[in-house]
């Protein structure tokens, strides 16, 4: 933390008076994402605790490089994008280590739906995300079980509407977007998320 604060101080335009200035660092994730990155519905910031380091790294880099969170209708993505835009490779690494130390608390369920319909809809998803939604690093697919259900709903909507997964460099996002075309409207989204919820019960 102290090391990071020093790195940040070095980026400040006016060095002469840097010493007397109020320091800050890049470990501010929990302001939005809640205690130990548990996710905060109040500001629509998802759970980070338990997130795979490789997935977290990819998303932070995508946000930083404007590959994610650049679409004008991706409201939550737009909120996140500037949070990452100033991050260095070192601070991304530091954040990943920090997140790795958090207590994982499974997300509270806020959505219910038709589980049978959800199970059917989930079959194609299982190929990459796993039958128990446990994720698959080799395929670049993150775990879904235990993630905030309201967040998954938002992301499915965003993929479907073309707010996410349309940037030419977002290879995994494009794959995911193609998969969501099998979902037909809000009901399907609800049902498949309700089914994913049931996997972590």
């Amino acid at each position: 933390m102290i090391r990071l604060a020093l790195i940040c101080l070095l980026c400040i335009p006016s060095l002469a008076s840097a010493a007397e200035r109020e320091p800050f660092d890049d470990r501010y994730c929990t302001t939005c994402h809640g205690t130990d990155g548990r996710g905060n519905e109040g500001v629509q910031a998802p759970r980070l605790a338990g997130m795979e380091p490789w997935y977290l790294k990819r998303q932070l880099e995508n946000y930083r490089d404007g590959i994610r969170g650049a679409h004008p209708d991706d409201i939550e993505g737009l909120a996140m994008q500037p949070m990452a835009s100033g991050l260095t490779d070192e601070s991304i690494q530091d954040i990943i280590e920090w997140v790795g130390g958090w207590n994982y608390v499974p997300a509270e369920h806020t959505i219910s739906g038709d589980l049978d319909a959800g199970r059917t809809l989930y079959q194609p998803c299982a190929t990459c995300h796993g039958a128990d939604a446990e994720g698959n690093e080799a395929l670049g697919a993150p775990a879904l079980a235990g993630q905030n259900d309201w967040y998954m709903v938002t992301q499915l909507r965003n993929f479907l509407a073309g707010y996410r997964g349309v940037h030419p460099q977002d290879v995994y996002g494009a794959q995911m977007r193609a998969m969501t075309t099998g979902l037909n409207g809000e009901n399907d989204i609800n049902n498949v998320v309700a089914y994913i919820n049931s996997l972590s019960d």
Partner: protein
């Protein structure tokens, strides 16, 4: 001959014309109904070694520490940020603006009058509890000027975008409106319910409201300012702006009421910045505050409250008999807690506001050369307002507010710092030629992204039209009441009028008075 109206009838008449609100106000003026209560004060029982942990060093938290401390309680304030005050935020030389994704250090010159109130900026004269604290804490106040009719009104759609003085605009507007009202009085039986004397007074009022000629026609007014002369020579009247042109801008609907209600006179401000209020409290309770102490967990028990917080890279614990919490509701939902389900539902019901403000340092006080001392210029563009400082009149430099968007702040918030600054320069130069060369050292604050705040003010109502529904009020009462008698939410968020410091204080007083009453009534 028209029969005179009785006082009661007159009130009914007003009610028919202006809704119930008119009756309440007029009633108070006539001494029938009680006026508002005096400043809220507390008379708390002795603390007897009881302890309180106060979450957040907003004004409500600091006032709680102050009041309970005076009554002998053992208080601790946990503040996540490097500073107290929350939405009371004065930006001056060297200030860190902790906006996530856009951190800035303010580069204004290091002088007492060179500051910018990025959050709260105005104190209405009726906010007695707040004014009472200012007096008690030795916070020096001065008059804040909100409406200054010498300031400008600018709209691209009006007169080819040429700015006009507010006084010109509003004088003409009143003139034309008065002419219509006077005509209506002559042509219809508008004077029916009044005695001749009353009707005469009413017509006289309309004439003076619009500065009409003898024949009840508006032909311009010296109230709009002199074109030339006025002191040693005969003053020449300015040309009228056509009514049509005045109606080209939506300001016609707003400018006659900017000086009404809570932003009406008299407004005050602390000399040297709004944070002088925070400093005043800190002179009393500063030693009780722990900074960079970010609350992580709140567990309400039968015999007290356990709070965990992160500080210096470690998780620490504190236990107290009672807890007062002014952390914004939308951040409380992200903490570890054991609140009951209806309380959590209520916390989630409250949405967050989006205010945005920006300021520039001006290299010279160019507005004073245009006879402007304080007040607001209105622009019909996204930057909306320019505020001129009362502080430092006739000095070389000053700090002006360059943009204030209270309702739709995301427009600028989503921009990069460079884009924000360029937007304000482009908007401002429509009012002040050479604006671009006259200002420097921008400071911008998107409240939606301010660390540990992430919003401006609680939004309880789902729509302005709908107002407070029964369901909303139910949630409000749920959050106002303590959890297990131990944990109180406080702050302007727990009031029916958010976005005022007075509300934050009154909410804290409500909570302390409620606890005090329960403690006094408890069996020994």
């Amino acid at each position: 001959m028209v029969k005179p109206v009785s006082r009661r009838e007159f009130l009914n008449l007003l009610a028919a014309a202006g809704g119930a609100g008119a009756v309440v106000k007029a009633g108070a003026a006539l001494g029938i109904m009680p006026a508002e209560a005096a400043a809220s004060t507390l008379d708390l029982a002795a603390g007897n070694g009881r302890s309180a942990v106060i979450l957040g060093g907003g004004i409500s938290g600091l006032a709680t520490a102050y009041e309970l401390g005076k009554a002998g309680w053992d208080c601790t304030v946990l503040e996540a940020s490097h500073r107290c005050g929350g939405r009371i935020f004065t930006v001056r030389h060297g200030t860190l603006i902790d906006e996530l994704g856009n951190r800035q250090y303010c580069e204004f010159d290091d002088e007492p009058h060179m500051y910018f109130n990025a959050g709260a900026a105005r104190i209405p004269n009726t906010h007695r509890t707040l004014l009472g604290y200012c007096k008690k804490l030795g916070v020096e106040l001065e008059i804040f000027i909100n409406e200054n009719k010498t300031c400008w009104v600018q709209d691209d759609a009006m007169l080819g975008g040429k700015p006009v003085r507010n006084i010109e605009y509003t004088t003409h507007l009143r003139g034309f409106v008065a002419e219509m009202m006077a005509k209506a009085m002559h042509e219809t039986d508008m004077d029916e319910p009044f005695t001749e004397e009353e009707a005469g007074t009413l017509l006289g009022m309309i004439r003076s409201f619009g500065d009409l000629s003898e024949d009840d026609v508006y032909r311009g007014s010296l109230n709009a300012g002199f074109d030339s002369g006025g002191f040693l020579n005969q003053g020449a009247q300015k040309d009228i702006i056509a009514f049509r042109d005045l109606l080209k801008t939506p300001f016609a609907m707003r400018l006659l009421s900017t000086n009404e209600g809570e932003t009406g006179p008299i407004l005050l401000q602390p000399r040297g910045g709004m944070d002088q209020i925070t400093e005043g409290f800190l002179r009393q309770v500063g030693d009780r505050v722990s900074y960079r102490a970010m609350v992580a967990s709140i567990q309400v028990r039968d015999d007290g409250v356990e709070v965990a917080y992160d500080q210096d890279g470690a998780r620490r614990q504190i236990r107290a008999d009672y807890c007062f919490n002014c952390i914004p509701t939308h951040l409380v939902t992200g903490l570890d807690h054991n609140f009951p389900a209806d309380y959590v539902r209520a916390l989630k019901h409250v949405l967050r506001g989006e205010a945005y403000k920006a300021a520039f340092q001006a290299k010279e006080r160019f507005w004073e050369k245009q006879d402007i001392y304080g007040g607001i210029s209105w622009m019909n563009n996204r930057s909306q307002q320019i505020w001129y400082p009362v502080a430092g009149i006739h000095r070389r430099k000053g700090v002006i507010l360059a943009a204030y968007d209270y309702g739709g702040g995301m427009y600028h918030t989503r921009m990069t710092q460079q884009e924000r600054v360029e937007a304000h320069l482009a908007d401002g130069e429509k009012v002040h030629a050479n604006y671009r060369d006259l200002v420097e050292k921008p400071a911008t604050v998107g409240w939606h992204r301010m660390n540990h705040m992430l919003g401006c003010s609680a939004r309880w109502r789902r729509s302005f039209r709908e107002g407070w529904t029964g369901e909303t009020e139910q949630h409000y009462r749920t959050l106002q009441a303590p959890v297990n008698g131990r944990h109180y939410m406080i702050g302007d968020q727990i009031s029916m009028r958010s976005a005022w410091m007075e509300s934050a204080l009154l909410s804290a007083h409500w909570a302390m008075a409620d606890l005090d009453r329960r403690l006094r009534n408890a069996p020994a």
